[in-house]
Symmetry: C2
Subunit: 312 residues, 2 copies
């Protein structure tokens, strides 16, 4: 038996046929067409799924289930309640998709799906509890407990980016202030760097951004920190300290076997992992008790397809 | 079959025989004797358990399992790693207790145990996921997911009192700054009230505390707020706003079916519950999606015995 995984992104949709071990047998990408009504978007996804299935050498009869990861929230009935990037509100994804392929369909948040992928075929394979944290424009998460995805009783859990980390802190897109993602995302690195270069225009960060603070991105700040630009080092150390406190909060709340770091910022690799592993124990409440291993995600761009397929 | 529950507190130990529905059939309390070596303390507990068992009319053969809730952390081997109030470090509770009564023994944190009790025989009975939050000197929690207690992969989870809620905030006993319990415990109410009466010595809070800020407790502040002392109202509203943000963080992280409020501050009853239920939705990320019910704990002082018995 094989499964189909659908990774719905804001600019592209990746669809793959995945075997029982989480290996992708065939895949294809199509552009995201938010200009179309959702029923037509879903028709395109189903057509693509049929093509990929044919390419893999299997037939509909071999498909055990279909899964989709969406950058939003879905309920237990397969309805996508919110999906900002696709401008979807209350879209009956399962019902609509089953008009084309009548198989069990599971839908979950994209970070949850990526976390599941890592726990099946990635760095957290073999563990029974994990928290996958994706550090990008925002901060998302995927929680696995007892070997199963936990996205909450109402499908709105694992939004660790919106834990309050700073009472009355930086305003957040969600309407609150001081959310964790205001301090731990790539966006947070950029914000802190812009403040720093305003005071220290001599920083390498600014010259790497062609003198334009609007062009600063997280990669520039991290690259400048690598070559020891003092301003970049200071910004990056502060970021690592915030991230360590976020990881410590995850340990204190849920105490998983492993915490997996993914998303754009994780491309920094050991330059992120090494100081983070040094910093987290400083905040540990029970210093002599073992706690979560901290690892980098391994599956990269494939995690979306694999994890979606594994939702079944 | 019956079970024995042991509620180990800093000043007293309560031991009860509990039936399958979570009802206490017989119970007894003995003083906590931290002056004795742990082996003698555990001997006293076992002796008490035997007396309570006899009183209930059952015998050792009827005992399915024994559970203990401790104000600390235990590992999977039944070793109490830390228990500050009893000055226990790495105490082999299970092995020691089984010298007296050879039955399966389960040990967990007291807040976890109280949460389990509520989910079996209290306000969260019938739910499959819950977070019990105890608001006392500190803030503890008990997490139930899929009907089972989750205290972490290393036994150190559900310490939501030590999530970072205010970067570089108030210093905490754990060594960090800005922990959630610095803003949401009874201790937080007292701290905020002391600051407020220093500025407003005319407040009813100070006269109720006999003019001595050292005598302010959470109950005084809450009682003064009930009769609309302006300073107390302001402190209490701030506290409710912090607590609502903490509840919102729990929803965003774990999205349980129900969040149960217990501990000393919960004695405020509806005077806490009503404004909290009004305040939490203001922070909700998905305002149109249902989220956790917020309820008050029901079992009170019995929760420790019942939950401990139910650990089996």
């Amino acid at each position: 038996m094989i499964r189909i995984g659908i990774d719905v992104g804001g600019t592209g949709i990746k669809i793959g046929v995945v075997d029982e071990n989480g290996h992708i047998l065939a895949s294809e990408a199509i552009p995201t067409r938010i200009d179309l009504p959702f029923s037509e978007q879903i028709t395109q996804m189903a057509d693509c799924a049929k093509r990929v299935l044919a390419e893999s050498g299997f037939t509909i009869d071999d498909v055990q289930s279909i899964g989709a990861g969406v950058p939003g929230v879905a309920d237990k009935n397969g309805v996508v309640i919110f999906c900002n990037n696709l401008a979807w509100v209350n879209v009956p994804f399962r019902t609509e998709f089953q008009k084309h392929i009548l198989k069990p369909i599971y839908i979950d948040n994209d970070a949850t799906v990526a976390g599941l992928a890592e726990s099946v075929a990635g760095v957290s394979a073999g563990t029974s509890s994990s928290v996958f944290v994706t550090l990008g424009t925002g901060v998302g998460a995927g929680i696995v407990i007892g070997g199963k995805v936990w996205s909450g009783a109402h499908g709105i859990g694992s939004e660790i980016g919106h834990i309050t980390m700073m009472l009355d802190g930086e305003p957040c897109n969600c309407g609150n202030r001081g959310c964790l993602e205001r301090y731990c995302s790539a966006t947070a690195i950029i914000r802190m760097a812009r403040v720093a270069v305003a005071e220290h225009p001599e920083s390498l960060i600014l010259s790497m951004a062609e003198g334009d603070p609007a062009k600063i991105n997280a990669r520039i700040v991290i690259d400048a920190a690598r070559v020891e630009d003092p301003v970049a080092v200071q910004v990056y150390q502060k970021y690592i300290s915030y991230l360590a406190q976020a990881v410590n909060s995850i340990i204190n709340f849920l105490d998983p076997e492993i915490i997996v770091i993914g998303g754009g910022v994780s491309k920094a690799g050991d330059f992120l992992l090494t100081p983070l592993r040094q910093e987290v124990p400083k905040y540990a409440m029970y210093k002599s008790v073992p706690s979560a291993r901290i690892e980098m995600a391994r599956l990269g761009a494939d995690a979306g397809i694999i994890g979606a397929a594994m939702l079944g």
